[in-house]
Subunit: 102 residues, 2 copies
DNA sequence: TAAACAAGTTTATTTTATAAACCAAATAAT
DNA sequence: ATTATTTGGTTTATAAAATAAACTTGTTTA
């Protein structure tokens, strides 16, 4: 009936991050922070979780002398996102149940 | 960019309950328990939260000698659910659903 | 009449989300 | 030149949430 929801994606901030990375394919920490409205601390933690799960790849580079944290979604992450959306739909598009109950 | 998600609905079990109540419009505790696969304790807690928020109405009756907890969605709950779905769409990169609901 | 069952509730524990506090380096101000 | 401020984060502490285990109350059933 209801498919289980990947707890890693069923989180407002992490979902926003994934959604963002799907549309831009590469983004810097400050940009994600601004787009999501998250605090730096919260964002840092949630990015770590996504990276640990292999949903995103984090590349730490430099932009001139400033550190630059680049994030992009991985194929695993993209698949997880799609699965999550499919699971969510089982909660959102429910037609009235006309089957017999026993 | 991303609309905030009502924390009361952004919960797997509570969302399942709401989804269920939208489709059947009235359901007993054991039925909800069976459909969602939740434990009784968890379900009891989450139903309370939904009721406290005014999203569902809980009526405690009897079915013969057995207690019977009846749940149904309220107009407030229905509105909240619809708003939640609209907010979610801002994360899913999906166009709003323009099909007619009957 | 004792044991098992049904229908929940309460409580305790684990997880999670989140922000506050912190750190290091670069730039700006005095 | 030294101090202050800003940038770009990380680490840690706390508040909130989810969840199941344990418990309660009444009802059948053996």
């Amino acid at each position: 009936m209801f498919k289980p929801l990947d707890p890693l994606l069923h989180s407002e901030l992490r979902l926003a991050v994934m959604s963002l990375l799907i549309s831009v394919d590469e983004a810097e920490f400050p940009y994600i922070k601004q787009q999501t409205g998250a605090t730096a601390g919260n964002l840092s933690v949630q990015l770590d979780k996504l990276a640990t799960a292999g949903y995103i790849a984090i590349e730490k580079t430099f932009k001139g002398k400033k550190p630059c944290t680049l994030c992009r979604i991985t194929p695993v992450g993209l698949k997880a996102f799609e699965d999550y959306v499919a699971a969510l739909r089982t909660y959102l598009n429910v037609k009235p149940d006309t089957t017999q109950q026993t």
